[in-house]
């Protein structure tokens, strides 16, 4: 598991810097387009993310960066779960699965109450 931990550590750092890079790109585009932080932001629309990115819409890299940042800790839990599964440590696999399920329940309930 020591190697797995080191690999997860490196992946965490890489994903964080990817998220930061996307945010930096988004803020740079904000400044270029003269968009302020208090400007009403467009709602998140996954269907238009790629086209918005290609159109250099500042919101697109910002949304993408935020998602990368939010997903990074969950990806770490999933990666750790896979690592534990390879070592046959099923109790830890169960814990990793339970964490992901708890978060999924939270997001689902938030979406349901929002709509």
């Amino acid at each position: 598991m020591i190697d797995v931990e080191a690999r997860i550590g490196r992946a965490l750092i890489a994903m964080t810097f990817l998220g930061v890079g996307l945010l930096v790109a988004g803020v740079a585009l904000m400044l270029i387009h003269g968009i302020g932080p208090l400007t009403a932001s467009p709602t998140f629309d996954p269907g238009h993310l790629v086209s918005s990115l290609l159109a250099l819409d500042p919101a697109a890299p910002l949304w993408l960066g935020l998602i990368v940042i939010l997903v990074t800790p969950v990806a770490r839990v999933i990666a750790a779960g896979i690592g534990y599964a390879r070592h046959g440590q099923w109790a830890m696999v169960g814990i990793a699965a339970a964490i992901v399920i708890v978060i999924a329940i939270g997001v689902t309930s938030a979406l349901i109450t929002e709509t």
Partner: protein
């Protein structure tokens, strides 16, 4: 443009202070955005959670690479912090904002008192009252006990410590999750003393493990804020980048700064902030 730069600069200051003092950005970012920029508390908490995840993920990565954090213990406690964060995330949108402001004032006052104890107790060593939030300085971790990292949940004599009072730890972790979701903090302020004082985990391991847990705790609540449309990309971008840069700089400045003086200044700033938040709550 000026506002974006001002928020970024505010984030840098919060990140530097947070990193130097072992605090996450949340305790500083939320008052900065609510009192300084007049944002509603929910939006400020959303921005703060993003900042907290960013900084904690980077530092947790370093801690994992160097085998300082106890991943098994962290994940076990994470199950309860994430459950607490989900509950807290639901409560946050039910409570009146004035009440949340008042509760946040109490939290800041508690942090200030913890800092004050640190000033009295030790003139040179940083007090890890919060843990999480500051990217780890690899130099600061050099020479750490590698045997602490892959320690089993229950520890062993070879690891140098034995995890005890696990039930208390699980309960406290759930509470830390609720606090994280309500106030946009990492929750390290609860988890580090909990692991260190109650569960018998060495301080260095407790801080590293808390850092690891902060990401998933904040992430669980951040997803709820995201789903409810309370994470604004235009607000989050400049501030979070500022916090990240500030925390990175802060982690490299640690050994050059008179931490005792810094803590005294910070206690005064926190005291004033707690007062201002309280006034906002009753206004």
């Amino acid at each position: 443009m000026e506002l974006a730069l001002a928020m970024g600069a505010g984030g840098v200051v919060a990140g530097v202070f947070g990193s130097l003092l072992g605090l996450g950005g949340g305790v500083l970012i939320v008052p900065l955005l609510t009192l300084g920029f007049g944002l509603p508390l929910h939006q400020a908490v959303g921005v703060s959670l993003v900042s907290v995840i960013m900084t904690s993920s980077a530092s947790a990565g370093v801690y994992l690479e160097r085998h300082v954090a106890n991943l098994r213990l962290g994940m076990t406690l994470e199950l309860f912090t994430s459950a607490g964060a989900i509950v807290g995330g639901a409560i946050a949108f039910l409570l009146d904002e004035h009440l949340l402001d008042g509760l946040f004032a109490v939290l800041i006052a508690y942090v200030a008192l913890s800092m004050l104890r640190g000033v009295r107790a030790d003139a040179t060593v940083a007090v890890p009252v919060a843990g999480g939030g500051a990217p780890a300085d690899p130099a600061a971790l050099a020479g750490s006990a590698a045997s602490d990292g892959p320690a089993a949940l229950t520890g062993s004599a070879a690891d140098g410590y034995q995890v005890r009072h696990l039930r208390m730890g699980l309960l406290g972790s759930a509470f830390a999750g609720i606090a994280s979701a309500l106030f946009g903090i990492g929750g390290g302020i609860i988890k580090v003393p909990l692991m260190n004082l109650v569960m018998g985990v060495p301080l260095r391991v407790a801080t590293a493990t808390s850092n690891l847990m902060v990401g998933i705790t904040a992430s669980a609540s951040a997803f709820i804020y995201f789903a409810k449309g309370e994470i604004d990309p235009y607000l989050s971008g400049p501030t979070a980048i500022g916090v990240f840069v500030g925390a990175t700089v802060g982690s490299r400045l640690g050994h050059r700064v008179d931490l005792r003086l810094l803590r005294i200044i910070f206690v005064l700033v926190l005291g004033y902030t707690a007062f201002a938040m309280l006034m906002k709550a009753v206004s």
